[in-house]
Symmetry: D2
Subunit: 278 residues, 4 copies
Amino acid sequence: MPLAWNRYGKARIRLVKLRRVLPAHELVDLTIDVQVEGAFDAVYLDGNNQSCLPTDTMKNSVYALARRDPIDHVETFAMRLAEHFAGKPAVSTVRIVASEHEWHRLDTAGRPDRHAFIQPGCEEWTTEVVRANHGTRITSGLRNLIVLKTSHSRFEGFLRDEYTTLEAADDRIMATSVTAAWLYREGAADFGARERIRQALVATFAAHDSRSIQHTLYAMGEAALAACNDVSEVTLSLPNRHHILVNLAPFGLDNPNDVFVATDEPYGLIEATVRRSE
Amino acid sequence: MPLAWNRYGKARIRLVKLRRVLPAHELVDLTIDVQVEGAFDAVYLDGNNQSCLPTDTMKNSVYALARRDPIDHVETFAMRLAEHFAGKPAVSTVRIVASEHEWHRLDTAGRPDRHAFIQPGCEEWTTEVVRANHGTRITSGLRNLIVLKTSHSRFEGFLRDEYTTLEAADDRIMATSVTAAWLYREGAADFGARERIRQALVATFAAHDSRSIQHTLYAMGEAALAACNDVSEVTLSLPNRHHILVNLAPFGLDNPNDVFVATDEPYGLIEATVRRSE
Amino acid sequence: MPLAWNRYGKARIRLVKLRRVLPAHELVDLTIDVQVEGAFDAVYLDGNNQSCLPTDTMKNSVYALARRDPIDHVETFAMRLAEHFAGKPAVSTVRIVASEHEWHRLDTAGRPDRHAFIQPGCEEWTTEVVRANHGTRITSGLRNLIVLKTSHSRFEGFLRDEYTTLEAADDRIMATSVTAAWLYREGAADFGARERIRQALVATFAAHDSRSIQHTLYAMGEAALAACNDVSEVTLSLPNRHHILVNLAPFGLDNPNDVFVATDEPYGLIEATVRRSE
Amino acid sequence: MPLAWNRYGKARIRLVKLRRVLPAHELVDLTIDVQVEGAFDAVYLDGNNQSCLPTDTMKNSVYALARRDPIDHVETFAMRLAEHFAGKPAVSTVRIVASEHEWHRLDTAGRPDRHAFIQPGCEEWTTEVVRANHGTRITSGLRNLIVLKTSHSRFEGFLRDEYTTLEAADDRIMATSVTAAWLYREGAADFGARERIRQALVATFAAHDSRSIQHTLYAMGEAALAACNDVSEVTLSLPNRHHILVNLAPFGLDNPNDVFVATDEPYGLIEATVRRSE
């Protein structure tokens, strides 16, 4: 029976490319699908893979081409990819679909930061009130506050055992989705503190000279407590949204903190409560 | 066997409250959970519901209390709810969890609009490049651009049949999540047009004197085409994010466009392509 | 500028229809989209709604037609809907998309139950081990065990206050997604108990003469403890997946527990821990 | 200010372990969280990482321990993990959370297959009816039919270019979530064919000696057409749910198709339409 139509490719290739344009960094964050159509009947009918470029190769190609050329407009990068795959055997049509995830520069101290970013993403402000016989407990917070910094983040000198392969990093991308919850003292009424606490959290994230997510979490917690006297403790939960440097050496390319794959799973998760000392 | 712990309540009560403070409107958008603990053993062990306030009543109470009082801080509204349910039989502890979905005023013509809002929510910019033998087709767009207006929206004079119960509305909330895709003319290179087109879409949404989602969609499409000469057509997909006025009459309360329930499903879906006339 | 293409309709209409065929009940659970295309230019260009059937009417029509006719195959019901909307003014094309959510009869005591059902849906088995200086705590469980019964469920005699509008029900659909977690005694090793406990939970759900979710939760907890001596307590979390009887009276139709709308939000949430008495 | 509480670890480690017990294979599919609490104040307050085992090492440890020991009960594997991490410096409490994703043996030809599995996961049956002036088009299908086979799947002899690093595989896990849509001939009425077509799809998936997803897709399409004469074409969409063999060589361990990481993104996507020849 005839093959009336066929298409194959790689879906949801995650690409983050940094531009270290002095004095400020820039960031492009894309999810890309590559799809080709063509005369692939022998692959389907006969199991003959001679014309079948692996979808794994498509993924590699996206990262290599991202390293070779700057990405000014997503459209021109997508055209460049389409041209590349159109040159492969049997291909008649190439479809590139890209979606760009926006990052804005973090506004700290009234001006845009040079290497810290925020992603406007479904941020919510939360409140929990628990009223029992012995009193009422009020906790406010926020979640889905997504931030990323391209500088002042290192992770070195950590514990090693027989299963450790991670290399120390003296300059890495640090990204997280902040969940914060601060407990108000009994009788507090300064519920307008939310904006102030939020600003303390993001400014500290941006400015901190980080030795680990834990290290930055503590600094953020301290800053939150400093921002509102009515708050007695703050709990922060910071998933580590890993950005992994792509190994381009097999393609004869270097990768000086330029092209990353953003991963969802698994992720580090760092949580702690900082309490005001009495 | 003993009941070691118990809790029940209503989860994810969706509440939108408008404040028609002249000259501008304000908006509070909350998702609320009500939970109570207490001496409810007879409900569980014996099926005796005498002390069991229905979770449906909890939902009604949230809407009624939202109508009665202004909501300044979510914390004070949550405390008010906790106090209300703490007075019910058998209840020992009340837990109110609220999450607030942020809306910012739409910035149109360089200043904040008085009754149009945007929700920063995972907006993405999209590109599709299809390269075939006969040419290359470039479509750019955006999705998850969530907007809402509290004025200048009506829906009247529509077709009625034997299954029509909808009443005409001369003043309603209109909310949608815009998906747009614009096709570039062959050879176009003005890929910086995205920001201009996006601004045309939101400004038109805010300003349009709407007789239906369809009517506003067409105006938005026209504005997008006017914003960029390199675009030959634009397709818009506008889900109608219904905000339904809560019927508070059973509680002796009026509801003059004040308290709404935001619903996810089902939803109206309006789609069309506006093409530049040759 | 011309309208090159247009389509509108209602998306994600949730319909559950019961067939009380003696001696056993049958269940059809659908999510339906209705979409029409046609000569609707005046709606878009002029804001003239004369030919515009509200999407709310489309929803009502689906429920009314579901009441009028039995649903044997989804295909024939979708054809019936398409025929209905094709007769409306200006419509040239009707598209009906339906997805059917499967329910299988619950297998209790080795044979299919007559009015209890299970939805094979991403059920997971869970384990939590917490090891601290003072010992190790092992809790196992399951989640996403989705069950529904069409008989032996009532909710009557409950507490009423000024915000209560719910009517007592002596025969309703009861549906939930079971989350269970059972704590093993220190030193327990009977980790093969999962299947036995799961079977006790579903058999009790099916057989219980329920006066409330709470009432059934307790019976399920007792049954779980009876199924495994190594378990010292069990916590159950049962969201009430409300199935609301559609009011068809405006269309001159009765609705004797036949046509329901399945709703996601808000939902009742009932939680408790049943502990083995010492 | 003091650290009132702290916890860190790795979340959502995906582990698939095969047991090639002759004559049949067995499968364990887990998502695991590792979390430790302890005396980590220096990490948070001083940025001193001396006691901080990287979460990347936690992930590696899970895979290595999964290779070392058989997994009989998830509880005992979780206890083994807890014991391992409890021995690390500064750790006072270890929490292991595991969720097990169920796989059942595929039932083909009336008996359980020895190396093909199905995951009961939100499978839906779909129907689309499009009624226009020139006729009615009826397409039925299914989605979220999740299947996996541990044998009879290879991918070799494929096209290579400068970006190809993939190695040929003569024995790999093949897993997919089937989406199928079959078009009925005009006037067809055999809507009871769904079960027959579904059975043809899964039996072919299990039995096929696969040289690629494409190759198996075509065989499944042919089988679907053979199962119902009223169907004129069938479109299949098969995402390749990659299971990647974990490299355990750094830990002095081999990995003979035993321990895999299941990945969500990116994924290959193979789509085609097989049409009945006239």
